[in-house]
Symmetry: D3
Subunit: 130 residues, 6 copies
Amino acid sequence: MTKLIEYEQASDEVRVVYDDIRATRKTDYINNFWKAIANHPPTLRRTWETLKEVMTSPGELDPLMRELIYIAVSVTNGCEYCIASHTAGAYAKGMSDVMFAELMGIIATANTTNRLANGYQIPLDEQFKT
Amino acid sequence: MTKLIEYEQASDEVRVVYDDIRATRKTDYINNFWKAIANHPPTLRRTWETLKEVMTSPGELDPLMRELIYIAVSVTNGCEYCIASHTAGAYAKGMSDVMFAELMGIIATANTTNRLANGYQIPLDEQFKT
Amino acid sequence: MTKLIEYEQASDEVRVVYDDIRATRKTDYINNFWKAIANHPPTLRRTWETLKEVMTSPGELDPLMRELIYIAVSVTNGCEYCIASHTAGAYAKGMSDVMFAELMGIIATANTTNRLANGYQIPLDEQFKT
Amino acid sequence: MTKLIEYEQASDEVRVVYDDIRATRKTDYINNFWKAIANHPPTLRRTWETLKEVMTSPGELDPLMRELIYIAVSVTNGCEYCIASHTAGAYAKGMSDVMFAELMGIIATANTTNRLANGYQIPLDEQFKT
Amino acid sequence: MTKLIEYEQASDEVRVVYDDIRATRKTDYINNFWKAIANHPPTLRRTWETLKEVMTSPGELDPLMRELIYIAVSVTNGCEYCIASHTAGAYAKGMSDVMFAELMGIIATANTTNRLANGYQIPLDEQFKT
Amino acid sequence: MTKLIEYEQASDEVRVVYDDIRATRKTDYINNFWKAIANHPPTLRRTWETLKEVMTSPGELDPLMRELIYIAVSVTNGCEYCIASHTAGAYAKGMSDVMFAELMGIIATANTTNRLANGYQIPLDEQFKT
């Protein structure tokens, strides 16, 4: 499971994805997440294709914003690996310490009001019904 | 609990907060979330102050980005009320349908990789350790 | 699945549990949760035995405190049914509106600091290590 | 991020909060959570004010009960830091091993019935509708 | 957002996916989930491709088992839509009421022991370390 | 809390359960989870009885399938201990690496569509309403 597939031992199927990760991220570093799911090449391919699409395809959200959203989900779920890797990624994309703190403040507050909404059993306003 | 405190029945303590919500949001509309937690004025005051600070105080994240982060948390947690109200808020702040879809795609993908990271029991890379 | 097993149609196996619920809760009312899981008598029996033990067996926590803890979990998880039923149960056991609001404030705050602890990747203090 | 702000290096803005934590908790120990979020003084101030209010302001729930509720949320969310620190806090406030075990039993059971309520798609009883 | 894209109004890009859903599921019925995410054709395409691959590509898990796993996740997360649709799907694939109940019992128990493991802060056995 | 109760120091009440775990699992190994909750014999007894019933009583789901469902919940919740121990258990019951990867793919995808269903605020199809 946590056998990490290094480039040197990887099959061609896996190397194709590793090459694309390197080219897209402009670094030779393949992190442990990819090396772990590479144990199942279809999972590696599928996951990388999706991540590449949502994080780098042209769109209205800039790359840094996309990382912040990714961190927001990861912090809410408490995924240590993802919090660490995507926070590093966000800093690499230009996040400052102040921006990090603002992000954390919003995540924290949303987790608060989400629970108040549950606990107070609040009926949805007519104007919010879609 | 879901007794909603209307402005007309509200105490001065509550009205002070309602007035600030109206002034800050530039609308007379007080939504059900505020009207519900107004049953406990300290909760109303404290929650509004925090939300106002993280969502509107000057900072590096623009108002629309802050709403997107709020939605990311709410969707991850599955809070119906918050998803509906903050999505409406984001559209009011300039979110387009395409931006909404990009946001959803990132939230969905992050929830995926968060679980793959858990399930494959992936060791944290040295370079991500803080 | 949401076929609700009424006392009149229930097998003896189910009625034994219904009788015990009535005697323990001092009411004839069997709520929909029990009527639904009664479709599978082993689940009904097992779940009632556990709930009865943790909520009513003699111990250091009084009955109302046990309901508050139950609500704290249910609000955190966003389970509508459980929030509604256990909140009603807590009011029946003596919870006041002020106590309810205090409970909600703690639940909300804990959900906040849980995420700050995740996001700031805080190392555990030596004195907290068990 | 996990740069911990020690009292000696702290700004006046941060020291004001540290002093209040020490006075309120009647100990000189400032734990890593506060030292970490102190990297952003507004977050430190705001979080401490809220926590202080919900956990120590006069009310109907005694201090130990408030810690138990805090633990219930933290265990449900799986926040290692919070589980460890608040469990230590509860023991300091008088929780016994038996009370701890009772608390865990209720948390565990609530997480069970929350899911049964979801999975069996149980309709909410009329008498629970608010 | 909850504008549902019917086949008749759909673009060719969307119809290609709808046709594949119909062919794969051997039914003309396109459910609301697909009709909703069809508002963003890349999301529709990507999500369908992934779901089709994990749920129908040849493998060691039979189709019914895959639905049970899907339900286990959905019940744990409390996603009403997914619980309802995948439960219907599992019944269509041969799940019996008894199997449903067994599934629910395991989901419930796992959610219990997950929290006991958190709360008791249990150290991982050497033999489980990978 | 993380005081682990070894067989040699255990009371008769605890040993009865340990003996049953050993007999049922056909191994002398009692893992840390049981040794930890053994600090409270009622919790140990109750938890073992339930786990034994849902995981080993005769039924329609075979033992390996039951472990896969258990893993699905544990991965979704991010419980490190349970992921590690039940993954080891599944391998012992015959899970192959390919099956593990298929399982992970389904868990990941379900966590994705659960959030898309939340975020797109999708109305439940008539035919799924129970």
